[in-house]
């Protein structure tokens, strides 16, 4: 399916968002506020993770409540290896990918069994169960900090470049985001994506057509997990710290919120959702209206306002921030971008 560029509100939004994200280090340098690079790197990391989850959640309708565990695997790969003196980024990447793929295969095989009978509740719960197991495993690792977490003194070194410089870390995250976006686009438009979306609407029919649905779903699960592993590695480098809290079930919940907030079933949606949610959190905690009681309410209790906002999004803005934008008139090929 050729992807010609049509000028629709959606595409304009997408371009502006991506270009804007690319310009952040320049803007923050001009304003002499290094804090913004930190903030937006965080946004990029979670946008990446949300993109990963979106593959199976948005396109496959598999609600995984445990994808934060893969972020944890990526983060701990960096942390544990750095703790033992291995700061070579390629080694960390290799270890993270191998462990991540192994875990995703094993967990995916078991979890996807439950999607055979309808009722997605079992899948939600079993993915949650595995994430919790991973969480408690990390807590029990006293040698690597356990509950207190593990500080990372040196960031990953990739030979040609090191992530010591915040701007380098930012641009690496940005490049990865673009690469994954492109990869996802190709995957969705190809047969793989068709089968996945077919499984979402009617799996029995797909199976009847002769597709090995389990294999496709498992492949999608593993790919989505590996993207989250990548995001986790970047997060550990950003915060120079890793703790079991990176795998808390609430983090998985927030990833789902980002996808739905952005727009379920769209490609850029998760990026928009992550940006919107994290920016909202940041803005609310420092918003000042000048009225002391209101400022105090908003600054100290912004998380509650976010909670109400999520409810609002679910009840009213069903299609999300990006998903709610008109996609333009349907093209001759059937579906608008």
């Amino acid at each position: 399916m050729a992807s010609g560029f049509t000028l629709t509100p959606r595409s304009v939004f997408a371009v502006l968002l991506l270009v804007g994200l690319g310009l952040v280090p320049l803007i923050s340098g001009a304003l002499a506020q290094p804090f913004y690079v930190t903030l937006f790197t965080r946004i990029l990391v979670f946008a990446l993770a949300a993109l990963g989850l979106n593959l199976i959640l948005g396109y496959g309708a598999l609600v995984s409540f445990g994808h934060a565990m893969y972020m944890g695997i990526g983060a701990y790969a960096v942390g544990i290896l750095a703790h033992h003196g291995v700061t070579n980024g390629w080694a960390q990447l290799g270890a993270a990918m191998v462990v991540g793929a192994a875990v995703a295969l094993a967990v995916g095989l078991i979890c996807l069994r439950t999607t055979r009978e309808g009722g997605g509740m079992a899948f939600i719960m079993i993915t949650l169960a595995f994430a919790q197991m991973m969480f408690f495993l990390a807590v029990s690792l006293r040698a690597y900090g356990g509950d207190d977490g593990l500080p990372i003194s040196v960031r990953s070194d990739f030979g040609l470049f090191s992530l010591q410089d915040p701007n380098t870390l930012y641009y690496l995250s940005y490049a990865l985001l673009l690469a994954v976006l492109l990869g996802m686009r190709r995957l969705i438009d190809a047969r793989f994506g068709m089968v996945l979306r077919g499984c979402k609407s009617n799996e029995r029919r797909m199976a009847a057509l002769g597709f090995p649905t389990l294999r496709y779903k498992l492949a999608a699960y593993v790919i989505s997990a590996l993207v989250c592993v990548l995001a986790g590695m970047l997060l550990a480098n950003l915060t120079r710290f890793v703790s079991p809290s990176y795998m808390a079930w609430t983090v998985s919940g927030e990833l789902i919120v980002m996808i739905v907030l952005g727009g379920l079933g769209t490609l850029i949606g998760p990026v928009a959702g992550a940006t919107a949610l994290l920016l909202l959190e940041e803005v609310l905690s420092s918003l000042k209206f000048g009225l002391p009681w209101l400022d105090k309410l908003i600054n100290q209790h912004w998380l509650g306002l976010i909670g109400l906002f999520i409810v609002f999004v679910v009840l009213v803005m069903k299609r999300g921030v990006y998903g709610g934008l008109p996609a333009g008139p349907p093209t001759a090929k059937g579906r608008p971008k």
Partner: protein
């Protein structure tokens, strides 16, 4: 390790299980009848504990006042939340329900911080129950004994209501086939609200009973919520029997694991490492159990009997 100690720990496990049952029964009914994933159930438990502490402290340390404030208060809160926000979600898919109730968790956590402050609030056990009973040669707190008793009585009462009354029959029918019940002319909306309020009341009771032994603080609902979800999935969604046995299993496995795994691990590992791994692995056991049940018998160990 003596038999006395083991039996005491077993009793502790039963006490935790009974508390989990109070919560799981309400949650499983809501799930089974309205097909509604209600993550806010943990927050109702938290609100029950806060209401209880507020009543206790406002009325000169009276546990009775705490009970009178907590249980009806939580039922009313549940009813209001259901009518205002949740009823429209019954027809939506699970993802939307999960998200909306997740948002409500965040909201309630901040509401209690705004009203009662970020530090914990406390209430004490009633005077009459502040002593100990001698059990197998070891002293056991009378209050925890009372929790077990109350929980078992509630279990019995629920059983009688569900299986011996007309309302219970409607609830069971609703769990099996909601459309049919509605087609037969029963006010399904009223039934839903009733079930939800009943669940909220049970959560409030659990909060009341737990108040004196744990710290009442913002976010206390989440760990319990997760355990409760494990209970109902392991036991079987929609099944009170499943909630009962599932809760006991989870409570006992968690407590015995927490108590004896460190001891076992200390044979091989350094002490503080064993003390960190013990409770963590004990917690993992519950999830392993749930994962095994889901993989092998997805409908749960004691599912609702259809047909």
């Amino acid at each position: 390790m003596t038999t006395g100690l083991f039996l005491t720990q077993l009793l502790n496990g039963v006490q935790l299980g009974v508390l989990l049952f109070l919560l799981a029964s309400g949650l499983t009914l809501v799930f089974g009848i309205m097909n509604f994933v209600n993550l806010t159930h943990g927050s109702l438990y938290m609100m029950g504990a806060y209401f209880a502490a507020a009543g206790y402290n406002a009325f000169d340390s009276s546990f009775l006042a705490a009970a009178l404030v907590a249980i009806p208060g939580t039922m009313l809160l549940g009813f209001v939340v259901e009518r205002l926000a949740l009823a429209t979600l019954y027809t939506r898919d699970h993802l939307d329900q999960v998200l909306a109730t997740f948002g409500l968790i965040l909201f309630f956590n901040e509401v209690v911080r705004a009203i009662w402050g970020p530090a914990s609030v406390y209430m004490n056990v009633p005077q009459a129950l502040s002593g100990t009973v001698s059990l197998f040669g070891l002293p056991y707190p009378a209050y925890r004994f009372a929790i077990i008793t109350v929980g078992l009585l509630v279990g019995l009462a629920l059983y009688l209501v569900i299986h011996r009354t007309r309302v219970g029959m409607l609830i069971r029918a609703g769990a099996s086939n909601p459309q049919m019940v509605s087609a037969l002319g029963v006010d399904i909306k009223g039934l839903n609200s009733l079930v939800f309020a009943l669940g909220a009341g049970l959560a409030g009771l659990a909060g009341l009973m737990a108040g004196p032994i744990v710290s009442v603080q913002s976010g206390m609902g989440e760990p319990i919520l997760i355990l409760t979800l494990v209970v109902i999935v392991t036991g079987g969604i929609g099944s009170i029997r499943g909630a009962f046995y599932g809760a006991l299993i989870v409570g006992i496995v968690d407590t015995i694991g927490r108590a004896f795994l460190p001891m076992l691990l200390r044979e091989f590992l350094e002490r503080s490492v064993a003390q960190a791994m013990g409770p963590a692995i004990a917690s993992m056991l519950i999830y392993l159990l749930m994962a095994a049940v889901l993989a092998l018998r997805p409908q749960g160990l004691f599912p609702v009997r259809h047909g």
